[in-house]
Amino acid sequence: MKSRYDITCHLKRHRLLAELTQQDLADRVGATRQTIHAIEKGRYAPSVGLALKLAAVFEVAVENLFTLDEGEDDG
């Protein structure tokens, strides 16, 4: 899902593969279902701490959940 920020979010795909509901995932990372929904819809970019927690749930690197859009790197 393209974000209002310059990142692409792959969280929903990982969540569906893990057969988790938004509420399940929210409970695991200490957030609300609204927050997970907003992240998946690209309306909210999580803090570093929350992003790391989300990555830990799926046992992947944060970069597997959130990627920078191409051409946005200022170097």
């Binding site: 899902m1 974000s3 957030a31 279902r33 609204q34 819809k41 690209g42 803090s47 597997n64």
Partner: protein, 244 residues
């Protein structure tokens, strides 16, 4: 995967603050000093959250609240400069304005702006716009029905007055399919009704209380829904493919 949403329940802080606001406004008829209870209910939880003494919101909810507060600050600030200009201008002609209605107007604009900002964060701009139009149309339709009671020909009065309201239901439907078209139509309606209500006279006398309230309550939802429909909404973006 289907989501089973937990039924929304108000938090204890929300219940207490709501009770204080209701109590404050309710008892203000006895003594205006009780309005302080409403202020405590409206702003107390936010102060406690910023102090770290109340932890009932996660990071997304806190950010949405802070952004809503900033947007409310901007809207109220702009309005205050207009009001100050008018008050100072009127003072030279020995005209005075009561403080209460001015304060309530500024607080109302600030609250409404903050509410819309929060809804944009939770629902997204276009869903918010559709719901604002439906609620707006529903409330005005209810008002139309109630006001037609007692008319000599209530059916005719209801029909004529509901013609004003029905386009908003239509625009909510249009916004679901062609949001940019709906946005342009709504902004055009805002300009039209601003002229119809006499925006020029409002600039001359923004503290004409009834006119200002009518414009805020009528034009506010139209303009905000129009702008929301014209915003890029992440809900419209295609799903990203699975990473390799």
């Amino acid at each position: 995967m289907g989501e089973t949403k937990r039924r929304w329940r108000p938090t204890p802080a929300g219940l207490i603050s709501g009770a204080l606001v209701g109590l404050g406004f309710g008892l203000s008829g006895v003594d205006w000093g009780f309005i302080a209870l409403a202020g405590l209910g409206a702003f107390g939880p936010g102060v406690l959250r910023e102090l770290g003494w109340l932890r009932d919101r996660d990071e997304f909810q806190l950010e949405a609240a802070r952004r809503a507060g900033y947007h409310g600050f901007l809207a109220a600030g702009i309005l205050l400069f207009v009001i100050v200009a008018q008050v100072e201008r009127a003072a030279t002609g020995d005209v005075t304005y009561a403080a209460g209605p001015i304060v309530m107007l500024v607080l109302g604009v600030m609250w409404f702006t903050g509410l819309l900002s929060s809804l944009f964060a939770y629902w997204g701009p276009r869903r918010t716009a559709r719901r604002v139009l439906l609620i707006f149309g529903g409330v005005w339709l209810l008002f139309t029905v109630l006001s037609s009671i007692g008319e000599e020909e209530p059916g005719l009065a209801l029909l004529m007055q509901s013609l004003i309201v029905l386009p908003f239901f239509g625009l909510a439907w249009l916004g679901g399919r062609w949001p940019k078209a709906a946005g342009i139509v709504l902004l055009a309606c805002t300009v039209f009704f601003a002229h119809f209500f006499g925006l020029g006279r409002l600039v001359d006398d923004p503290l004409s209380h009834g006119r200002t309230v009518a414009m805020v309550l009528f034009l506010g939802p139209l303009a905000s829904a129009g702008l929301a429909f014209l915003q890029r909404d992440p809900d419209d973006e295609p799903e990203s493919p699975l990473p390799a």
